[in-house]
């Protein structure tokens, strides 16, 4: 009997053990700082998009909530951090926390709109919310700068030590650090009883309720956390560019982040990060090659990818893992 208990404990531990590929992933992300010194600004954008996609993964991949308006929380976070800095409080970490609180609170307030209802109503409601926010930001020019954007933001050095520079050195390391810390928190949460209950709701809401899981409460919490994460991405965007424009609330932001997550695959935390690398790399390469028509090519890629390539790429990753068992850590047990 106690032998079975040991096996149960071992199985539960195995699901949260660090995979060697994860360590390699983060080492590459850090190593890129020295490897590609001329692309730090692009890498900073990738890190921010990755955090935004991680935030969407928390609700889409883990809780099964679809959203076409996730930019609402990105935008709120960006304006919150930007306005705080504009009003003399330029400490980046303070701005980051403030943006997370503002966006998280907005997530909590709007969560009743999405916890009930089906996928279609969720798509429409989330889209509606971001359209409303976009119009508010546009009209309230005295606060947000309207269509001209929020200008005159000055950000202090990170921790009072590392000033932001033109090449994106500080920006990349700052964004990557925030991404890593928030990733660690998310990883811990998704392996907790709370995270497991989100998966339960995503898998089968009927059984979740019949197992004593209150779906509305858990979905509202997940939505709040995801909103705070999106707010952090918004803060990074505002702080590292020292500018906030209406573009942060644009529809394409919500659409892009969903594409990013679908490219990388939802539900295992790394999808958003891998997707962000692929998406930004494609965008950058195609735009350099054909600046006017890059949208055409990325559109074509996405159509083909969703129809065929997704299974090819994800199948390829799986095959890679099974061919190299030492890499997946299975050889040890």
């Amino acid at each position: 009997m106690s032998h079975l208990q040991d096996r149960v404990r071992a199985s539960l531990q195995a699901s949260r053990r660090w995979h060697i590929a994860e360590i390699v992933f983060w080492l590459i992300a850090l190593g890129s700082f020295w490897a590609f010194p001329r692309h730090l600004l692009l890498m900073n954008e990738i890190a921010i998009l990755a955090l935004f996609a991680l935030s969407l993964d928390l609700i889409l991949g883990f809780a099964g909530i679809v959203s076409l308006g996730h930019a609402a929380f990105l935008g709120l976070g960006a304006y919150a951090a930007g306005l705080l800095a504009k009003n003399g409080m330029g400490d980046p970490v303070l701005g980051l926390v403030f943006a997370m609180v503002v966006s998280g609170f907005a997530g909590l307030l709007s969560s009743p709109l999405i916890v009930k209802g089906n996928d279609l109503t969720r798509l429409m409601v989330t889209l509606g919310v971001v359209l409303i926010l976009h119009e508010i930001a546009n009209s309230w020019a005295s606060l947000t700068g309207g269509a001209d954007g929020l200008q005159g933001i000055t950000i202090n050095p990170v921790l009072g030590l590392f000033a932001f520079d033109l090449f994106g050195k500080t920006a990349y390391l700052y964004s990557l650090s925030v991404l890593f810390v928030l990733f660690l928190v998310a990883r811990r949460m998704m392996n907790s009883p709370f995270g497991l209950s989100l998966r339960a709701i995503r898998d089968n809401q009927l059984r979740a309720a019949a197992s004593g899981v209150p779906p509305s409460q858990r979905l509202a919490l997940a939505y709040t956390i995801a909103a705070a994460y999106a707010g952090a991405a918004g803060a990074l965007l505002a702080q590292t560019s020292q500018f906030v424009s209406l573009d942060v609330l644009d529809f394409h932001r919500s659409a892009d982040v969903m594409l990013v997550l679908i490219i990388g695959g939802p539900g295992y935390l790394y999808g958003g990060m891998i997707g962000a690398v692929v998406f930004k790399f494609l965008q950058d390469t195609i735009a350099a090659f054909t600046p006017q028509y890059w949208m055409f090519w990325i559109g074509l890629f996405l159509v083909l990818f969703v129809l065929r390539g997704r299974s090819l790429i994800h199948g390829g990753v799986k095959l890679f893992m099974t061919r190299l068992p030492w890499l997946s850590g299975r050889g040890r047990s």
Binding site: L196, S197, A200, A209
Partner: protein
């Protein structure tokens, strides 16, 4: 014996149709009680009223002396009423181990702990292992549920329900859809449920009913037609007329 689950004058209407028509019902402690009736008799509606999927038009549901008529589904689970579904409702991407650990952690009230991990809690480990052993799931505990054969999935369904430590267990056609080869093991598991758990069995299969039930309630057209021990139900002419027809098991 005392009643653990009761309904008083329970009524549910859908538009002009009365699906549940003034049902007063009582499940005794430790009972093996079968709820039977022809298709459309209102068995499913009745179970949905008991478990909180539907709200009754009138009447009350009482669990262990407490009026639970307006409580949510999950609140009823916390108070000791759990159910299986006619068609398996499982967490397809999880393993049996994870599913049972989840139900256990919810029962212990850990559901909001976002920074704990399950394997640090000895009670989760102990109780999960206990359920896996009792329902003979040790060998498949790390398989993905979606990949298991239907009969095994049925075992997981019953085991995960049992992990909520219910005082009242509603089994909705536990053997439905299970192939003949896996049926025996499943029925043995149902037979081995502890005596202090009160079981309400919603069933079509007469062999199962007469094997397990110590008491039978017959529903017809949303009403209780008859209620009693299996022998008297089998002899009841009204039941034979309305439900059993010529096919007698007495």
């Amino acid at each position: 014996m005392s009643a653990v689950l009761q309904t008083r004058n329970l009524v549910k209407t859908f538009g002009g149709i009365t699906a549940t028509d003034d049902i007063t019902f009582s499940l005794e402690k430790g009972a093996r009680h079968a709820l039977i009736g022809p298709n459309g008799a209102g068995k499913t509606t009745f179970v949905n009223l008991l478990t909180g999927v539907l709200q009754p038009t009138a009447g009350a549901v009482i669990l262990n002396g407490e009026d639970i008529t307006t409580l949510s589904r999950e609140a009823r689970v916390k108070r000791g009423m759990a159910r299986t579904f006619q068609i398996n409702q499982l967490f397809a991407t999880m393993t049996p181990l994870q599913m049972i650990a989840l139900v256990t952690s919810e029962r212990l009230g850990y559901g909001l702990r976002a920074f704990n991990v399950l394997d640090h809690d000895p009670r989760v480990i102990e109780q999960t292992a206990d359920i896996l052993a009792r329902f003979r799931l040790e060998d498949i505990m790390n398989e993905t549920i979606a990949s298991l054969p239907y009969g095994k999935q049925r075992q997981v369904e019953i085991a995960s329900t049992f992990a909520a430590q219910p005082s009242v267990l509603l089994l909705d056609e536990p053997a439905a859809g299970v192939p003949e080869a896996e049926r025996r093991e499943l029925l043995d598991i149902v037979a081995a449920l502890p005596a202090d758990v009160s079981v309400l069995l919603i069933e079509h299969d007469m062999d199962i009913i007469f094997r397990f039930a110590t008491r039978i309630t017959v529903l017809v057209n949303g009403r209780v037609l008859a209620d009693g021990d299996p022998v008297s139900i089998a002899r009841d002419p009204a039941v034979r007329e309305a439900y059993l027809g010529e096919e007698s098991h007495a």
